[in-house]
Subunit: 216 residues, 2 copies
DNA sequence: CGCCCGCTGGCAGCAAGCTGCCACCTTTTG
DNA sequence: CAAAAGGTGGCAGCTTGCTGCCAGCGGGCG
């Protein structure tokens, strides 16, 4: 097929169907997006990451702060980062989603709106290189996820704040769980999640950080 | 012996010897002092407190802030308070130590200086009553030990600050102990002491409080 | 010198905290 | 409707943290 000819597909499902094979990056896999709404297809993201990992390609992901707007998204990002994915955050809006694969392919998505999103698959070398240059320039100026998170209190939901309060009162897990009507197991799950959000390796550290960020 | 006649003794040892029997309070045992330098005689304080406890007399102790000037004194105060002794702190200097027993006896000590301290044992009812009135007036105006401590960072020595630092870095006990060249046992002793000083029931709470007081 | 103290560290036993696994239930989705 | 996904809680096994007890060690002090 003529590499100079761009291909437009509609919707994520069709993208995976028609261009899924292109995602098998060997060297470079870079991605810029406002948030994590893409790859909502069940399992798609996991398979992708696992495949990249197997081929030792280090993925790079650039997001807007909105990608950690709520507790759950933030947790998801942390998990991905834990799998060796480089993640950075930049402030300027990334309305056009960009995916770069091995200096060969660029996939550019139109802004998310009503109906299926439009993806343009580009293989023209000149275009791909230009997009790459811009991507890496933006990447360099962006801040690492860990640094970004350290400078900004995570958005905790009501229950998390409540748990923080109980911890702050020095309650033992059992008492706190009872007070919340949770099982011990679930309570500890919540605490572990909060420790992760606070980037703390011990409860003492979490306490420090909670006060530091004005969360308790 | 004539109750109107005051008795003067020199040194703590002689006081215990000549007036020790007077300390068997049944109702009221109150004491005002700048710090805890009195009752330095080994075991004397413990025996006294134990005896009072057995007779259900609630002792009252009024100190100056200097009584918690260093980590060790503060810890001692906390321990005493844990034994049911009421402790308050007042800012105005209590250079003359005062002990009141059962509305019957007052023991007044001259300022601590070189040589043995001079104690005056008073049993004259009018004098004892006056001293009591003054004591309780001062007591009422003083602040409870717990409140006082909560509003003031404890004076930590170098090692304690170092431990705080290790905790802040999220180190496990074993790693921290190794780094300090301490045994696990001793390290945990130190941590427990710090938790006590910070009035914290859990490490999380200690973390909060440490940040709050600007200690880490 | 011997004795007493205070500090330390090992040990043991327990409490607290952490996590993987699985079963169950509800909700969502096809 | 069935299948899948997500949330919850029990359980088990482990790690980490906590503390009382005792033995050893070194420094004052009579």
């Amino acid at each position: 097929m003529d590499p100079q000819r761009n291909v437009v597909v509609r919707g994520e499902r069709e993208l995976v169907l028609r261009a899924g094979h292109l995602f098998h990056a060997r060297e470079e896999f870079a991605c810029a997006a406002a948030d994590q709404s893409t790859w909502a297809l069940p399992g798609a993201r996991e398979r992708l990451v696992a495949g990249l990992h197997a081929r030792r390609a280090r993925p790079f992901k650039l997001y807007n702060p909105g990608a950690l707007a709520d507790e759950e998204s933030e947790r998801r990002l942390i998990e991905i980062a834990g799998h060796g994915v480089q993640i950075r955050i930049c402030a300027t809006p990334l309305r056009q989603e960009t995916i770069l694969i091995d200096r060969k392919v660029a996939i550019l998505a139109g802004p998310a709106g009503d109906g299926p999103r439009e993806y343009t698959v580009v293989r023209a070398p000149g275009v791909v290189e230009s997009v790459r240059t811009l991507f890496w320039a933006t990447w360099d100026a962006a801040t690492d996820l860990a640094d970004f998170r350290r400078s900004r209190p995570p958005a905790l939901n009501g229950q998390s704040r409540e748990i923080l309060h109980l911890l702050a009162d020095g309650l033992k897990d059992e008492a706190a769980a009872r007070k919340l009507g949770l099982s011990l197991r679930t309570y500890r799950r919540r605490v572990a999640e909060i420790l992760a959000l606070l980037d703390a390796g011990s409860r003492f550290q979490a306490g420090l950080r909670a006060r530091e960020l004005g969360l308790a």
